[in-house]
């Protein structure tokens, strides 16, 4: 009936999809729920739902990764809601709402993109931006000219953009 074969049909399909995306899905789930057990549960449930809905995956519309993340986002919302019913006031921020999950997804993507930067690039961003340290101080500490710190910041942002794009991020602007 439908063109293309069912995604994640065989055990080998599942194994390779897990090897490729399992860690990332776990990272996102953990970032959203702050609970290792629940995050692992999210990964299992995500692959189960993906397997069940495999015939609806269309590689011409999007990547397997994008599709798995769309499923994982819903599983995270379900998990957070289920937890909220059991322990309503345990956490300050309730992550069961789509907006909160969306924020966690962006945060996780940026953190993951920062992890993918070359260490030299990540370092200057962390020192100058997140720690707010002056360029001169960072340059002295690293034993490089201030101009080099500045151009590393530039390449860090460019690489960060590329890393985000690789992860499927697009700027809506």
């Amino acid at each position: 009936m439908r063109a293309g074969r069912r995604a994640l049909r065989t055990e080998a399909d599942l194994r390779s999809a897990y090897a490729e995306h399992g860690g990332e899905l776990y990272g996102f789930a953990l970032r959203s729920l702050e609970d290792r057990e629940l995050a692992e549960e999210v990964v299992q449930e995500t692959f189960l739902r993906a397997w069940r809905a495999g015939s609806r995956f269309d590689p011409e519309i999007g990547s397997l990764r994008t599709w798995l993340f769309a499923i994982a986002r819903n599983v995270v919302i379900d998990q957070a809601r289920a937890r909220a019913r059991v322990a309503p006031v345990e956490r300050a921020e309730f992550p069961g709402e789509p907006d909160a999950v969306e924020r966690a997804l962006v945060a996780w993507q940026v953190e993951e993109a920062l992890r993918r930067l070359a260490p030299d690039h990540r370092r200057v961003l962390v020192e100058t931006y997140y720690r707010g340290r002056p360029y001169a101080e960072v340059a002295a500490e690293l034993g490089i000219p201030e101009g080099t710190v500045k151009s590393r910041v530039y390449y860090a942002l460019r690489s960060l953009r590329l890393a985000l794009e690789e992860m499927g991020w697009t700027d809506e602007g």
Partner: protein, 215 residues
Amino acid sequence: MRDEACRRWRPSLGAYVLGQLGEDERIAVQAHLDACSGCRAEAAELGTVARLLPSADPSRIERAPAPRPDLADRVLDRVGQARRERTRGWLPRAAATAAAVLAFAAGLFLGLRGDDAGERVTFGVAPAGVTAEGRVRDLAWGTEIEIRVAGLEAGERYAVWLEEPGGDRVPAGTFRAVSGREITVTLAAGLPRGSAVALGVSDEEGATVLLASLV
């Protein structure tokens, strides 16, 4: 990029979009941007990235968290279990599961079995004492829905619907719960399976009693 001014100012664009330049240099960069559309486009791209930085927590970026190594096996186990359930048929054994209500009558249904039996859905939300299982199947004209349910209030009328991503609901029909036994209802909604994000059942007051995510 060949231009001398571009070569001079472009490496400052990162610091520029992060607001890290001293006043003199910021003014010089701004003057170049006013004159150079290439660097302006570059600054805009970097600016989008810079605006995302506050959402990250720097204490989390040193080390990527990893699941326990056996998670891969648990994923495969869970799918394997579902696969076995699917081939076994979708309820253990229930002799008295005659279709009590057929809310959508068109003679189109050949019974849900075989490979193209659609997919099983689990209701994540169900009141105490109510057991329910569903199945949806993508067809050319919409989505066929089968629900097996027990424990709903007898005599009460229930509405079945599919939900679209924006929250709109497409009705699939209604059924009346029967006392003391499981019923099977088969209905349909004129919405492609791929466009439905949830399957729900609500009571006469409009309160949702059963809800299954379809994504």
